[in-house]
Symmetry: C2
Subunit: 208 residues, 2 copies
DNA sequence: CCTACCGATCGGTAGG
DNA sequence: CCTACCGATCGGTAGG
């Protein structure tokens, strides 16, 4: 415990650790996220860092939760007010593409969840299971919008929602590679073109 | 050097190290590939392992080369005799999907190159550059087949080869996630359906 | 190819 | 929140 600091100060310190952990893990993965490096970056002792979590695995899970909260704020919340179905689906996908392109301050190493899930997809344990749960939840939400769009006649009646979501996931991972591995200037354009092909061309304003 | 063994024996040992390294790195990444673990698995000393490469980075590069050779053998060679253009493109993509699905003995942790390139895409140095070069070479070869297919009238005349390749890359990465993170039984079916949508439906036999 | 090391860093603990 | 540790493991070297 911290006799010299208030509970609010301790919470704030914990937030700072998680925030820095998210940035580090986006570059070096959740295993490359070491307590010593985190402590040095934050000018704290290793014990001071670890005390907030107990174990490295708990630190990884806390970093994962923090990243999921940031992802919700950057991708889902901006689209929350859009009309359910195709409009919201487009809004979410646009925000997702923007998150890949511009969320460098939060995730300097690119998409945190691509890095972490590829890193853990051949391991076992709570970190992997937490990642799988998050991906499943996001896929479910995307699929629900596809279904609404189909019901509204905004996507072909024979669309397979899971299939559309599978292709969207591929689009986001390919975009991440385009940005991170190749630093391709036209990465976002390419992603948008794929999106238009999957969901139909964008309309500037609603057409009756 | 190895006074007790012939050069051929040394070469064989090096191959064994690289082979085991490919399997380990497909699970734990090229950083998670440690000399100590490799030595223990092969019942060698750490110095015995490292002596074949000199540094860990050289070991990582050798493992990368070995994996590229395996990938060529599994994905490019089976399609080498197919007719250039769409038939060969389909053959390569089919082999690529089969590689994801069945190359478990060589790469038990799934696609080695997805793991390694996501792991290194936010770092700098020779490993990252080597990975980027490999991905670029494969993309070039895929794009060349797309161009041939367009010229032959087997793909729409307005196809953008780089765009098609971008979408194929996404398909392979999404398939890897489907298999590794979700162990989805219908992963290969989904990938094939996307492939049919991208390249047109498969024909059982050539139609005049 | 081995044994026997090296300093650095890992995750984690004791005690204040 | 700190200092001061712990054993284990890291990449790598010397010398045979």
């Amino acid at each position: 415990m911290s006799p010299r600091h208030s509970a609010a100060e301790a919470r704030r310190t914990r937030e700072r650790i998680v925030e820095r952990g998210m940035a580090l893990a986006s570059c070096d993965g959740l295993e490359g996220l070491t307590i010593g490096r985190l402590a040095a970056d934050l000018k704290m002792s290793k014990a001071g860092v670890l005390g907030h979590f107990g174990t490295k695995e708990a630190l990884q899970l806390a970093t994962l939760s923090g990243a999921a909260a940031a992802f919700s704020r950057l991708v889902w919340e901006p689209a929350a007010d859009a009309e359910p179905g195709l409009p919201r689906l487009r809004a979410v996908c646009d925000a997702w593409i923007a998150y890949m392109d511009t969320a460098r301050d939060v995730f300097p190493g690119g998409c945190f969840f691509t890095t972490a899930s590829v890193e853990f997809d051949a391991r076992s344990g709570p970190v992997r299971e937490s990642l799988a749960r998050m991906h499943r939840a996001w896929r479910r939400r995307l699929a629900a919008e596809v279904r609404t769009a189909v019901a509204a006649g905004d996507l072909p009646a024979d669309s397979d929602p899971e299939q559309v979501v599978f292709e969207l996931v591929g689009l986001f991972m390919a975009l991440n590679q385009e940005i991170q591995l190749f630093a391709a200037p036209d990465a976002v354009d390419r992603a948008r073109r794929t999106l238009d092909r999957l969901l139909g061309p964008r309309r500037e304003s609603p057409v009756p």
